[in-house]
């Protein structure tokens, strides 16, 4: 485990991360033609504070919808999400979020993009923000590119910037929607270890959406498997591989077994 980077993250060592309780969540979307589509049907699960949970499933199974409701970006049709003791009705300051696309603002430098959540919040001083940005740049291995513009970076670099931005406010809950989907295999494996280093250090609660089963197994304490039409959780698999995880675990039999078990649960 790369402790140097987790130190650089400067996150608090004691985890006070909030648990997440998703309770009987239903989400119905209305399409343009007036049809109703049930994206989520009566979905219930709990995530303990500081737990790393991945959600896998085929496209259209509502995994992104669950995450967006937890993030307070959209409302549920029925049911509720508890973040700690509070019902989620709007985006919470406790949450850091990384989207499928990097969604960087092209008119801001990389440094200002990373600083954005803190600037919007307006609580940290300029010097504090600058120092934190430097830490985060080092952590995602982008030291020295702070003054460049997003348009000058590769897709992988842009995605790392967006992950640094998600960590800017030292969130106790990290929501990630297929954040590594666009990265090449090597960068992706590297980012797995970086993410685990950050997580080991400060133990935020992580909800990680992916369709990559091996990625889910490597990273998580638990993997929730979802099915589509209607979207629901069909399995809850505990990943009892030892931590800290190391790259060579990918070659072990029990790693492959867990992957196969999850794959068998995903409907085609």
């Amino acid at each position: 485990m790369n402790m140097q980077f987790s130190q650089a993250a400067g996150l608090p060592t004691s985890s006070k991360a909030s648990p997440i309780h998703v309770s009987a969540l239903t989400k119905v979307f209305r399409t343009r033609t007036g049809d109703e589509v049930m994206a989520l049907a009566d979905t219930t699960f709990k995530i303990a504070g500081g737990e790393f949970v991945s959600i896998v499933g085929p496209s259209g199974c509502g995994k992104s919808t669950v995450m967006r409701i937890i993030a307070g970006l959209i409302d549920a049709s029925k049911g509720a999400v508890l973040l700690g003791k509070d019902v989620v009705t709007a985006p919470s300051p406790e949450i850091g979020i990384a989207f499928q696309k990097a969604v960087l603002l092209p008119w801001l430098t990389v440094a200002r993009n990373i600083a954005l959540p803190a600037e919007l919040e307006g609580r940290k001083s300029e010097a504090e923000i600058a120092a934190r940005v430097e830490q985060l740049l080092a952590m995602v291995r982008l030291t020295g590119v702070g003054q460049r513009y997003p348009g000058e970076l590769s897709g992988g670099m842009q995605q790392r910037v967006s992950i640094a931005r998600a960590l800017m406010t030292e969130p106790s809950v990290l929501l990630m929607d297929e954040p590594f989907g666009a990265l090449d295999a090597l960068t992706r494996e590297h980012m797995h270890d970086e993410l685990l280093a950050i997580w080991e250090y400060s133990h935020p609660t992580v909800v990680f959406i992916t369709h990559d089963i091996a990625e889910a197994v490597y990273l998580s304490d638990r993997v929730l498997v979802m099915a589509a039409r209607p979207g629901r959780v069909v399995a809850d698999i505990r990943i009892d591989l030892p931590r800290p995880r190391q790259a060579d675990i990918r070659g072990e039999a029990r790693f492959a077994r867990l992957g196969a078990e999850i794959r068998a649960l995903i409907p085609h």
Binding site: G72, L73, A90, V103, P106, W107, L120, E121, Y149, G151
Partner: protein, 278 residues
């Protein structure tokens, strides 16, 4: 001289030639082309006028026009006229742009207001502004105000419509990002929408600044008091059947139009450097 030496000399010569080609060479080349274009145009003009034996009171030759231009310049009349017309154009441009952008922001932030005003905007936009100029003369008199009013009316709608389109062209992802990080409405406007709208605003500027100059001249043609702008000059020469004088003013207007356009293009390059593909 040995072969080796000759080779060395040739290499140096080639390097020098390369240097000239790369930087100074291209500039000299471009300037030469521009001068040749200009001289060629003037020559063609002169040949046409002489060859077709055109009456100089209808289409004057280049010599007469240049003479007029020179006389206008040294008398100081031209500078005075440029100053008047540029004031009308630039003041009208600034006010029109501020009003257009301001209303665009208000309408895009308050959809109810937009719904109420939309039909009026469409209707007013359809009115040919030049046709309203006589009214402006009645309302604001023969001074600079009526000219500025026409410039504003010509500029206002393209800026308003483009800015509104720009403010509404944020992506869903950008809005979601701002929502997730609990940005206030004001923060979203200043930190995202304003930047997304900027290319649209500059596009409107590029189109409408030259229109603004036209509006100022047209307003002067329709009626001006003691202030002598470039349009007024044209009117005076027209009354005297002085085509060479009119041509001289037209050349000045053309140069001013190109200069104003170049300023907007330079400003948009400067402010939109981030949006250029790398």
């Amino acid at each position: 001289m040995t072969d080796e030496k000759a080779g060395g000399t040739a290499a140096i010569a080639a390097t020098l030639a390369g240097l000239q080609n790369s930087r100074l060479g291209t500039i000299t080349q471009q300037v030469t082309i521009k001068i040749l274009q200009l001289l060629g145009g003037i020559l063609a003009w002169e040949l046409l006028v002489q060859g077709l034996d055109v009456d100089p009171r209808i289409v004057p030759g280049p010599a007469e026009v240049l003479q007029s231009l020179w006389a206008l310049t040294i008398s100081g009349i031209l500078i005075g006229a440029i100053w008047i017309t540029m004031q009308e154009t630039v003041i009208g441009f600034v006010i029109g742009a501020v009003l257009g952008i301001g209303l665009a922001v208000i309408l895009s932030e308050v959809p109810v207001l937009k719904a109420i005003l939309q039909p009026y905007i469409v209707a007013l936009q359809a009115v040919p502004k030049v046709a309203v100029a006589p009214l402006f003369l009645i309302w604001f008199g023969f001074g600079m105000e009526s000219k500025i009013a026409l410039v504003i009316s010509i500029l206002f709608f393209p800026v308003l419509v483009n800015t509104m389109a720009g403010l509404e062209s944020t992506s869903e992802e950008q809005m979601e990002l701002m929502k997730a990080y609990r940005a206030t409405r004001w923060q979203t406007l200043l930190r995202v929408k304003a930047y997304v709208a900027l290319p649209f605003v500059f596009a409107a500027f590029e189109v409408s600044l030259v229109l603004a100059l036209t509006a100022a001249v047209v307003a002067e043609l329709l009626g001006s008091g003691t202030l002598v702008g470039l349009g007024t000059l044209i009117k005076i020469y027209d009354a005297r059947m002085n085509s060479a004088g009119i041509f001289a003013v037209l050349i000045v207007l053309s140069v001013l139009g190109v200069a104003l356009h170049a300023i907007v293009v330079a400003a948009s390059r400067h402010f939109l450097s981030w949006s250029r593909p790398v």
